[in-house]
């Protein structure tokens, strides 16, 4: 089993799927000759040529639409959008076309596209390069939304996403590309649905997705030093959300916290907690808590940026609060 960086895992998935099926193509800004802003398509242009690794102009709405049109005619495009902020320009074609065509054609036309895009705060990138926007996509019927948090899921879920007949929004994070993890040497697929218990515990459930899973795991380490056993769930998929795994965990721990880098209003945490109230209200021994970003455009200044975005310490302290320890 090899240890791969998140970006290498994505690159391997691209390579294998391009080799597997001639109908798979990749499209995006700088993904070809330049090798990709985050190196995810490095070397693939030389291997597969400009017809399959397509450098696009800076025209997000229309190149995404071109990918969708191609998918309607049988192609399997992987569309990279350099930052999720730019995906706002493609929302018309993603939300009004890709998400709806299967339905409004009465099931007669499918749009098997994957839109890969990183979000999140990295290093003082300012408001227009730091958005997350997960909630926009998870609120749209007709899309699948996945949030791989490890190289294994990045690799195995991208392969599954390419073979899935639905449009899949594949949310990455600018701070995760160099994260390392083990990926089996043999071809592996990871399903697009289902949350995963990534750490077993009995005292509290910490729920995260994408980058915030890593805060939850680190917070669980600190809680363990105080004899508190936290269970950590990686949501993996925001659409659909695996409510069953969450319910089972809460029936064991009776306390829950949802950690996310997205803002709270109309956020992922709101939805998860609404589901918890509906599914297992009487299993709760304390009120569920959200750890989330401040409801502000992300500021440039380092201290302000840090204050806007939660981290391990916030998850740890909020967990103590849920447990009644502060």
């Amino acid at each position: 089993m090899a240890e791969l960086a998140y970006w290498e895992a994505l690159r391997r998935a691209h390579d294998e799927e391009l080799a597997h099926d001639p109908l798979v193509i990749a499209m995006g800004e700088d993904i070809g000759v330049a090798g990709g802003t985050y190196k995810v398509t490095l070397g693939l242009y030389d291997k597969y040529g400009e017809e399959r690794i397509i450098d696009t102009p800076i025209s997000e709405n229309s190149y995404t639409g071109i990918g969708i049109g191609a998918s309607m005619a049988g192609m399997r495009p992987i569309i990279e959008i350099m930052s999720i902020n730019f995906a706002l320009l493609a929302l018309d074609t993603l939300i009004n076309a890709a998400a709806k065509i299967h339905y409004m054609s009465g099931g007669r036309v499918q749009c098997p596209i994957v839109m890969r895009t990183p979000g999140g705060t990295a290093h003082q990138l300012g408001a227009q390069h730091s958005a997350r926007l997960s909630r926009l996509f998870m609120g749209t019927p007709g899309l699948r939304v996945v949030t791989p948090s490890t190289p294994l899921d990045a690799y195995g879920m991208l392969k599954s996403a390419v073979r899935c007949n639905d449009p899949v929004i594949f949310l990455e994070h600018e701070s995760m590309y160099n994260l390392k993890g083990e990926v089996p040497d043999e071809e592996t697929f990871r399903p697009l649905e289902g949350a995963e218990v990534v750490r077993e515990g009995t005292d509290i459930t910490l729920i995260g997705y994408n980058y915030s899973v890593h805060w939850c795991l680190a917070a669980a380490d600190r809680l363990a030093q105080e004899g508190i056993h936290a269970e950590v769930i990686d949501l993996r998929s925001l659409k659909p959300i695996d409510r069953e795994t969450i319910r089972r965990s809460i029936e064991k721990t009776h306390r829950v916290l949802v950690a996310e880098e997205d803002e709270a209003p109309v956020g992922v945490g709101s939805e998860v907690i609404a589901g918890i109230i509906e599914d297992c209200f009487f299993a709760l021994d304390a009120q569920p808590v959200r750890v989330h970003a401040a409801d502000v455009p992300v500021p440039y200044n380092y201290s302000l940026e840090k204050a806007a975005i939660p981290d391990v310490k916030d998850v740890y302290q909020s967990a103590l609060k849920v447990l009644g320890k502060v």
Binding site: I25, E51, I54, T56, P57, S59, N61, S62, Y63, T64, G65, I66, G67, I68, G69, A70, M72, A73, G74, M75, D92, T93, N96, A97, I101, H102, Y103, M104, S105, G106, G107, R108, V109, Q110, P141, G142, R144, L152, S160, A161, R163, C164, N165, D166, F189, R190, P191, L192, E193, G194, A195, E196, V198, E200, L217, A220, V232, D242, E244, T245
Partner: protein, 343 residues
């Protein structure tokens, strides 16, 4: 070009006119809901262009896509007229099983890839269909019909740039009916002649009158040949006119009676009928009989089918949101596959 069967083309256009008239009546009877954008007055464009596109490979070989004024494009592309009318009625037998409605007719069995209610959205989708045609290399092209109002969307400019850069086999057909919803072209568009805008994208383009189907076909032939040869996109602009308002909710008060009457002097059905009668290929009586036969066919066959078709089942409300038969190997759920435990 194959010898043109002008009588058949006339009958098709008479059928398209009557189809829209009958849809208008059904809307007034509240049997059709939502928005209804009718095509009457513009018949020569879709009929003529698609006749040329289909001449070589037949119906359903190439991809066709358009905006919300889509009934006639769908039928000419090969979608059964019964199913198009049933879709307007919202029935399970409709082209989109009642889930799409007037603006979202789909028939992938003849590669009619939809009508879209977002102005300008079909431009990139058409280019994408053309990209797939290029990859699959089976000689297909994509044909995109849109009104001139769509040309003021960003998608027009973005798509023309990429279609030209990548030499995509796509034919853009601009149906310039002078009004973007209710705003006249001279009040919304800095360049009145749409074909001139394509110079900026290095795409060959030409402008023609769109009321005489023979003029339309003559203009379309070299454009289709150009696209099919692999030389890249072509942009055809046809000057035409819709007789009714933008949709059923629009009485068209922004236009003068004189203007409408003037365009009706160039009615595409009358132009062709008159020519055939003068050439001795058709008598007045035969033309009247043709109109009656079409009317009977639409009433007895098309409307009857739509009215007698079943409604979609409410129990099927959530069908077609996602793939109805997803492959569990890719989809999951994780737990059923023995999710990996770590940490």
């Amino acid at each position: 070009m194959k010898k043109i069967d002008r009588k058949r083309l006339l009958r098709e256009m008479v059928f398209f006119r009557r189809f829209e008239d009958r849809a208008f009546e059904a809307y007034m009877e509240r049997k059709i809901g939502g928005f209804l954008h009718l095509y009457s007055g513009q018949e020569a464009v879709a009929t003529g262009v698609l006749e040329v596109v289909q001449a070589e490979h037949g119906v359903g070989f190439d991809y066709v896509i358009t905006g919300y004024r889509d009934h006639i494009h769908a039928i000419k592309a090969g979608a059964p007229a019964q199913e198009v009318m049933a879709e307007l009625y919202g029935k399970e037998t409709g082209s989109s099983k009642g889930r799409g409605g007037s603006m979202h007719i789909f028939d992938p069995s003849v590669r009619f890839m939809g009508g879209y209610a977002l102005v300008g959205q079909p431009f990139p989708l058409a280019a994408g269909l053309a990209l797939a045609c290029k990859h699959q290399n089976e000689g297909r092209i994509a044909v995109c019909f849109l009104g001139e109002g769509a040309n003021n969307q960003g998608t027009f400019h973005e798509t023309m740039n990429m279609a030209s850069l990548w030499k995509l086999p796509v034919l853009f057909v601009c149906e310039n009916n002078r009004y973007a919803i209710g705003t006249a072209i001279q009040r919304s568009t800095a360049v009145i002649d749409q074909y001139k805008r394509l110079e900026a994208y290095n795409i060959p383009a030409s402008q023609h009158l769109g009321q005489d189907i023979e003029v339309v076909m003559e203009a379309a032939q070299p454009a289709v040949d150009h696209v099919r040869s692999g030389a890249g996109p072509y942009f055809l602009e046809f000057l035409t006119y819709r007789y009714r308002g933008h949709s059923m909710s629009d009485a068209g008060a922004y236009r003068s009676k004189e203007e409408v009457a003037e365009w009706k002097q160039q009615d595409p059905l009358q132009i062709l009928a008159k020519r055939l009668i003068e050439a001795g290929e058709l008598t007045e009586e035969e033309f009247k009989a043709m109109e009656q036969a079409v009317q009977d066919e639409i009433d007895n066959d098309i409307i009857k089918f739509a009215e007698e078709s079943p409604e979609p089942k409410v129990a099927d409300l959530t069908k077609y949101v996602l793939d109805d038969n997803p492959d569990p190997r890719w989809i999951g759920p994780l737990q059923a596959q023995g999710g990996r435990q770590h940490g």
